[in-house]
């Protein structure tokens, strides 16, 4: 039993299977919101109101022909999708799903998660680099440029709740508003929350920050040459990244909830859905910006904003208000 338990953690809950189901549900919700904001219907016919559509898309890709470009590095090209998927699924293991301490949670797991969440971008860069096609190369360089733009504000923004809670453990940060009894701390972190939301959007490479894989410009960016199973794995990776990213932001900024597995799970669903909804609103209401514009934007506005927020929190903390 002691051998089976970690395997179950990794493969079923809170590992791959749970994340897959939850993330496809979130993708469906994102697509539905996005469509309704544009006065369209969105997915409709697969499952209840099209809820199975993302699963169907991924399944379809698994049955498609898998092509490796003749000039690409076959080993690295095939390795990348697995590596990216492994990174995000591992990050997802640290998700505080309900009040109980998740498997192998430890003091400082926030840093590990941030590191694991940076990996997909590097993987994407390498994927583009090893496919050796003009569009992949342009996309790959864009991935890295964009990484340098959003990563620092993202870290700074997630630092704020950690400073407030005085801990580097996600679990403790999440329960801080409840244990300390001061729910109002959620309110004063609004600026950091906005920065985190925008940089998460950049991390997920969605409009207005879908510069690396801008379809009309560089076809698919680093993923141009990918097809079949490998593309499907990238799709799953992207979905799980959205789930993990938005669940973390929700956990860090919205706090945990008492009440055990069922209510805690429901609260996770609700708060993650709220973050995903906000992400879809951002996706719907802007045009894709240029690579030079995102660098300017994040260093000129996002980084200073997160610094200001950190400063405010530190001052409050120093004066003993928090």
């Amino acid at each position: 039993m002691e051998v089976v338990k970690p395997l179950l953690y990794i493969l079923v809950f809170p590992g791959f299977l749970f994340q897959f189901v939850f993330s496809t549900y979130l993708e469906w919700m994102d697509r539905k919101f996005y469509a309704r904001m544009q006065n369209r219907r969105g997915p409709l016919y697969t499952g209840f109101r099209g809820v199975l559509q993302p699963v169907a898309d991924i399944l379809k890709l698994f049955f498609k022909e898998d092509i490796v470009p003749a000039r690409a590095d076959r080993f690295m090209f095939s390795l990348m999708p697995i590596l990216g998927l492994a990174a995000v699924v591992t990050a997802g293991l640290y998700l505080p799903v309900w009040l109980f301490t998740p498997y192998n949670s430890f003091e400082g797991d926030l840093i590990v998660v941030l590191y694991l969440l940076s990996l997909p971008s590097l993987v994407l860069f390498l994927a583009g680099w090893f496919s050796v096609s003009p569009y992949s190369l342009i996309g790959a360089t864009r991935v890295l440029t964009q990484l340098f733009a959003y990563e620092v504000p993202f870290f700074l923004a997630l630092l704020t709740p950690a400073v407030v809670a005085g801990s580097w453990q996600i679990q403790k940060i999440a329960v801080y508003p409840w244990t300390s009894g001061s729910w109002w701390v959620i309110g004063i972190q609004l600026l950091a929350f906005l920065v985190a939301l925008l940089t998460l959007q950049a991390k997920l490479e969605r409009v207005p920050f879908d510069i690396p894989e801008a379809e009309t410009e560089v076809v698919g960016g680093p993923l141009t040459e990918y097809s079949g199973k490998k593309l499907a794995m990238f799709r799953i990776q992207k979905d799980i990244l959205m789930l993990v990213g938005s669940a973390f932001i929700a956990a860090l900024f919205f706090g945990g909830f008492p009440g055990g597995l069922w209510i805690g799970g429901l609260w996770l669903l609700v708060k993650t859905s709220i973050v995903v909804f906000l992400l879809s609103v951002i996706r719907a209401s802007f045009a894709r910006i240029r690579i030079d514009q995102i660098v300017t934007f994040s260093w000129k506005y996002l980084a200073p904003a997160s610094l200001v927020q950190l400063l405010v929190v530190l001052i409050l903390k120093g004066n003993g208000v928090l």
């Binding site: 309704r36 904001m37 006065n39 219907r41 609103v281 209401s285 802007f286």
Partner: protein
């Protein structure tokens, strides 16, 4: 002059509206009167002048005379002879639905129906014979 998020109210407003798109393959879209669909022949009216054949942009129409059926009972003496019979062969894969054939027909023997789902897997299925 620039206002961030100027588009958001409209988008959020759309959440409360019914979608503008239709569930097409399941709910058929009605077409307005006068829609130009598939050309159809009213064989009884055709006099075989071939004006439609001459003016068809895509050369999609062929009017041929139907050979009298040898097995058919001979017209009873005394009844009015219906005369020659014609049939139209329409190559729907070529037709451009301009309705010129309906315009030039002196006897109004051709009309366009409201059929708009004409896709098919083989060309043979798009060769229509009307008599």
């Amino acid at each position: 002059m620039l206002k961030a998020g100027i588009f958001i109210p409209e988008l959020l407003g759309n959440l409360g509206h019914a979608p503008a798109t239709r569930e097409y393959p399941f709910v058929k879209t009605p077409v307005p009167p006068g829609f130009r669909g598939t050309p159809r022949l009213r064989p009884g009216l055709c006099v075989g002048c071939k004006a439609c054949m001459r003016d068809c942009t895509a050369e999609a129409i062929e009017i041929v005379q139907v050979p009298p059926d040898p097995n058919a009972p001979p017209p009873e003496p005394g009844t009015k002879n219906v005369g020659k019979k014609f049939k139209m062969i329409l190559y729907l894969d070529r037709c451009v639905h301009c309705a010129r054939c309906a315009d030039v027909c002196p006897k109004d023997a051709i009309y366009l129906d409201e059929e708009y789902e004409m896709a098919n897997f083989t060309r043979d299925a798009l060769r229509l014979e009307m008599e």
